[in-house]
């Protein structure tokens, strides 16, 4: 069914939370407060790797207004973590990065809490530290976790010393492939730490109730995961933890894991008062979950006409002092390296490596921009060397419908050719170097729609409105508006008839969370299931009343219709309240795992991708011949979204993702020197402003997926994958300078244009 035949889905309707947001009435976690609330502050390590020789909090405790002080001595030190349980709430005897929490204070004002933290006395005995992930791999390198072998970890990961996870993907015989190649190319690429940059800091308010339950109001993307993590850290059954998510001011993968919630909960427990903890910009840039830096090496053998014959590669991912999602991210990098290209002989390896720097996380399309920067830069380098047009070499190698993917899975709904040709046509590819200092570049990729299950409760109210109760958080993308459009479509009501409740883990059904481009996809599918069940309930109830077969009834214009009889949904809901406990249904969804070849993947938590999307970016830019400054003239994205549930917010995802990608490409970096962040403020951490952003031209391609609602595919993450490579490729054309390390600052370009390295 095309979008033309639908009333609500596919339409550019206003988002359901818009009015609250433009009037300042939408309450975010950072706005949330309780009477009598205390303010928490964390003491952080001033050393990158050291033993704590002395810690004295007596002066802090004595300060008027201080209600509690916590250190590792005061609470059970429970190790927690996503892949590996390698982290404790406070450093226990040893700090592993500059910025690690050592103590926390709750006081009647933030100023008093800050003053109290400054009075805490601490002495360190420095230990040898390692900051470079390649050095961390050398024999004899200092171990970030001497006791790594005793930690609990998910069994899928292969660990050793500073390697927190090693995974591999591939097949065929790469050596034989290289031997048969016309030419073999080897390149090395590096990428940097990048912060998600959400404008609302991480914030949590915790309060303990009369039942001994702790209620935590927080801006987490994963309320159910948060509940389990808090249960672990607080040493309580998960049923005693209640997570409520008011508004959330952006996340981008940076608000997946516990950040301030455990400090708020423990301080509230100790103080017997509600406590709020909120991060500062300095804390965000020193102890958050930024994108990992990587070193990617690629060796590629090609035939004379540019066909990829064999590819070997290694991703070294610097996960910092704690593994968090690093091992999984290093593994996902391998699919990004592989696709969207056919390669008979493939051998990729990913390593997540500990260093004495801040922990890292799952920033939007984890591993995507890093791996794509390497693959797509190299494809251009090969094309140039062989004298083949970069678009043409891509078209010769891309996946086709029914091809075999990197894990041996069969690929369906493949649209990469259409993405590439449309993006190239839109940018005017036939004229790649329109003038001196100006050039055009292309990059393409693919990405998954993350699985995991979703549940929704949908209730039809006696006034004819519909309440959608989901465990999924509206991050800002508009995904919940998209799911509500699907629900409205299925129930024959308007989008404005639908109300959505906040997520509360005590009452909302389970959802795997707002991550992995899955929210509209999975919650949308659960809404279809819920609506199907509600239609059954409605028809059965009305059929009994009218004494007609249920199959003779249909929904039309917010009413049940059968023959010449009609009953409004509102009246059916009232009837059901009187006779049947109300109209409510529980809809669920889960995306099936594709069949893959287990011999092609090793130690990989996501061995085969589902409902993958394809996309291509094309950019036209100019490089100043003296300063090296890059100005983007035009930026085009052709993205296969499967089905555009709401084109306006899909464009919003693309425009915003490209902005983050441009930031990563040209200006953003958390700069470390000997374990110390040199730019822990928003003046020196340079995110794109309105003046730095070009218009982004969006081409939405709709090649339906098998599993998504109305054929939709995941949309949110992909737009930040290709900008680094597309821009690097255009800069090479415009300036003759090929930069293989991110960010590609004006300084780097100017230095190279003037003969430096």
């Amino acid at each position: 069914m095309s979008s033309l035949e639908r009333r609500v889905a596919g339409k550019r309707l206003n988002r359901i939370d818009g009015i609250g947001k433009v009037t300042g009435k939408h309450v975010y976690a950072a706005d949330f407060a309780l009477p009598g609330m205390l303010f928490g502050k964390i003491l952080r390590s001033g050393e990158a790797h050291a033993r704590i020789a002395r810690l004295d909090v007596a002066k802090a405790l004595a300060l008027p207004g201080v209600r509690s002080v916590l250190t590792a001595q005061d609470i059970p030190q429970i190790r927690f973590g996503t892949a590996i349980k390698d982290r404790t709430m406070f450093a226990e005897g040893e700090v592993r990065f500059r910025g690690e929490a050592i103590a926390a204070v709750a006081a009647t004002s933030l100023e008093i809490a800050e003053a109290a933290v400054r009075t805490i006395e601490i002495e360190y005995e420095p230990l040898p530290a390692v900051f470079d992930p390649e050095e961390a791999l050398l024999t004899g390198a200092p171990l970030v976790h001497a006791g790594w072998n005793d930690y609990q970890a998910l069994p899928v990961f292969d660990r050793e010393g500073n390697i927190s996870g090693r995974s591999a993907i591939g097949g065929g015989d790469v050596e034989a492939g290289f031997a048969r190649s016309y030419r073999v190319y080897e390149h090395r690429f590096t990428t940097q730490h990048v912060h998600p940059g959400y404008t609302e800091p991480r914030a949590a308010v915790a309060s303990w109730d009369g039942n001994g339950d702790v209620i935590v109001w927080t801006n987490t993307q994963l309320p159910f995961d948060m509940k389990n993590m808090l249960a672990e850290v607080l040493d309580l059954p998960a049923s005693k933890i209640r997570v409520i998510v008011p508004g959330i001011g952006g996340g981008f993968g940076g608000k997946l894991r516990v950040g301030v919630e455990h400090y708020a909960a423990w301080l509230a427990r100790k103080s017997r008062r509600p406590v709020r903890v909120i991060t500062t910009s300095e804390e965000e840039l020193t102890d958050a979950y930024p994108r990992q830096p990587t070193v990617v090496t690629l060796k590629t053998g090609v035939s004379r006409d540019g066909l990829l014959l064999a590819r070997q590669g290694r991703v070294i991912l610097d996960c910092g002092a704690f593994a968090n999602s690093g091992p999984a991210t290093a593994a996902i990098a391998l699919q990004v390296l592989a696709g969207p290209y056919r390669t008979p002989h493939l051998a990729f390896e990913g390593l997540a490596v500990y260093t004495n720097k801040g922990a890292t996380g799952s920033f939007r399309a984890p591993a995507g921009p890093m791996a794509n920067f390497a693959v797509e830069s190299q494809i251009d380098l090969i094309a140039d060397d062989l004298g083949i047009d970069p678009l043409e070499i891509r078209l010769r190698n891309i996946y086709r419908e029914g091809d075999t993917g990197p894990a041996g899975e069969t690929l369906a709904s493949v649209s990469i050719e259409e993405c590439l040709t449309k993006a190239a046509a839109a940018i005017g590819w036939s004229e790649r170097k329109p003038g001196e200092g100006r050039g055009k570049g292309l990059a393409c990729s693919w990405w998954l729609t993350t699985g995991g299950s979703s549940g929704v409760y949908v209730r039809i109210n006696p006034d004819g409105t519909v309440t959608l109760i989901s465990g999924a958080v509206e991050l800002g993308s508009g995904a919940i508006t998209g799911a509500a459009q699907i629900l409205a479509e299925e129930l024959g009501v308007d989008l404005t008839d639908i109300n959505v409740t906040d997520v509360d883990t005590h009452s909302s059904p389970y959802d795997y969370g707002a991550q992995g481009s899955r929210t509209a996809f999975s919650v949308g599918n659960a809404c279809i299931a819920a609506a199907t069940d509600l239609r059954r309930q409605i028809f059965e109830l009305v059929a009994t009343q009218w004494n007609v077969p249920a199959a003779s009834l249909r929904l039309e214009n917010k009413s049940v219709v059968g023959g010449d009889k009609r009953m409004s949904l509102a009246d059916v809901a009232s009837l059901s309240q009187r006779m049947g406990g109300g109209l409510i249904s529980h809809g669920t969804s889960i995306q099936p795992m594709p069949v893959f070849d287990p011999n092609r993947v090793k130690h990989h938590p996501l061995p085969a991708w589902t409902s993958h999307s394809f996309h291509a970016h094309a950019v036209d830019l100019s490089v100043d011949s003296i300063t090296g400054e890059v100005s983007i003239n035009r930026y085009v994205v052709a993205q296969d979204v499967g089905y555009a549930i709401n084109p306006t917010y899909i464009e919003g995802q693309i425009e915003g993702g490209v902005a983050q990608g441009i930031g990563q490409t040209l200006s953003e970096e958390i700069v470390y020197e000997d374990g110390r962040v040199l730019n822990a403020n928003l003046t020196d951490y340079k995110m794109p402003t309105m003046m730095d952003m070009p218009r982004v031209e969006c081409i939405l391609i709709e090649k339906p997926s098998v599993n998504g609602p109305y054929g939709a595919k995941g949309v949110g993450e992909p737009p930040c994958i290709e900008p680094p490579a597309a821009i690097a490729n255009a800069i090479a054309v415009a300036s003759g300078v090929r930069v293989q390390s991110l960010p590609i600052t004006a300084e780097k370009i100017a230095l190279r244009m003037n003969g430096g390295r």
Partner: protein, 167 residues
């Protein structure tokens, strides 16, 4: 610390407060008055989410002392429009899909109002809007739909309700 009396006029209403001399306007708005429509982030005038109007001009309330606002007029997002009577800028932000997470939006709208009021009757170019609003960071939208919303609202200024046209 000793508190002293301060009367502040916010959204046309007078507030009698007892404040500490070093408190910022942002702290008074959010912490003392519970007016959380004005947002808090970097606290060093880099991100712009705390922007309010002081005598009609956009200012970062995080680095403005409350004391400096004595005898002056403050307008926050709560004073611009309410859900039943949106200011044309608020309506344009919704219509153009300029709102995602929304955390920067109050600051963005207040900056846009100050900018449009300064040059009444002038429909700004895209470059002018980008320059004027570049002090507020948005991480969700890539800014494009915000620019479109501001220009669209400016184009229709003649049909704005009388109340919205006043600065």
């Amino acid at each position: 610390m000793t508190r002293h009396a301060l009367d502040l006029t916010i959204n046309g209403e007078s507030h009698q407060l007892m404040i500490e001399p070093h408190w910022s306007l942002l702290h008074v708005l959010r912490g003392e008055l519970g007016m959380t429509g004005t947002k808090e982030n970097c606290l060093e005038a880099e991100c712009g989410v705390c922007t309010v109007l002081l005598d009609g001009k956009a200012v970062n309330s995080c680095i403005l002392l409350a004391e400096q606002c004595r005898g002056r007029s403050i307008v926050t997002i709560e004073g611009l429009g309410d859900p039943e009577h949106l200011h044309p800028l608020q309506a344009a932000f919704i219509k153009h899909g300029a709102v995602q997470c929304g955390y920067c939006i109050p600051g963005m709208i207040m900056t846009a109002k100050s900018f449009l009021d300064e040059r009444r009757g002038h429909v700004p170019s895209e470059a002018e809007v980008r320059e004027a609003l570049s002090g507020t960071l948005c991480r969700c939208t890539g800014y494009q739909k915000i620019v479109d919303a501001v220009i669209a609202a400016a184009r229709q200024r003649n049909s704005w309700p009388e109340e919205a046209r006043r600065s």
